[in-house]
């Protein structure tokens, strides 16, 4: 039963990634694109954890943790660039 639930959740997050990609392509404003990138980072974290559960190994949590941190910092850096025209003043 867990296999089917894993497959369903992975399919949901895969379709979600495609929808985010569409929003990055057409997004009328730069804020939309940053938001879609941030959502992609969160979806990829979910996919990594799902893969870790599927393989039964805990080694992917380190990667998920790193992606979470780098994703947060990159989102803040993009927004700061839009706000101030500079990242480190």
């Amino acid at each position: 039963m867990i296999e089917y639930a894993l497959l369903f959740a992975a399919g949901c997050y895969g379709i979600a990634l495609l929808l985010d990609l569409w929003r990055i392509a057409v997004g009328p404003d730069d804020a939309d694109r940053i938001l879609a990138l941030d959502t992609m980072v969160i979806n990829v974290i979910a996919l990594l954890v799902l893969y870790g559960v599927w393989r039964g190994t805990a080694i992917y949590f380190e990667a998920a943790m790193l992606i979470a941190m780098v994703g947060f910092v990159s989102t803040v850096a993009y927004c700061r660039f839009l706000l101030r025209g500079d990242i480190i003043e």
């Binding site: 379709i15 979600a16 929808l19 979806n43 954890v49 943790m65 706000l83």
Partner: protein, 124 residues
Amino acid sequence: MSFTAELLISAALVVSGIFGFVGSYGLVKLKNTLQRLHAPTKATTLGVGGVLIASMIFFYIETGHISVHELLISLFLFLTAPITANFIAKAYLARNVRPKDLPSSDGEYGWSVYDDPPEAGSDR
């Protein structure tokens, strides 16, 4: 693995998948940027929380230990999602909305997106 545990993990996975999908669907479906800000920052974060709960139960039953990594990831995500939402909203306001279109802030200075707060405060 007992049937109850399998049912619990599968339910958490299915619910979190639906939450993640709804978040991204709202990102595509809603009409303007400030509305679109709501769907991913709330629904997708909740969805990842569901995945992490499922994996915590799974690894507790598999190995007998509670792994703290999932708790760290979910804590980090739940802390940073409001901050990124605030930053994105500020970037959108600074680029697309002029200060005179907004209601007055009823304070001594304008909205902090546009004006720096005064230097006189003693807590800086």
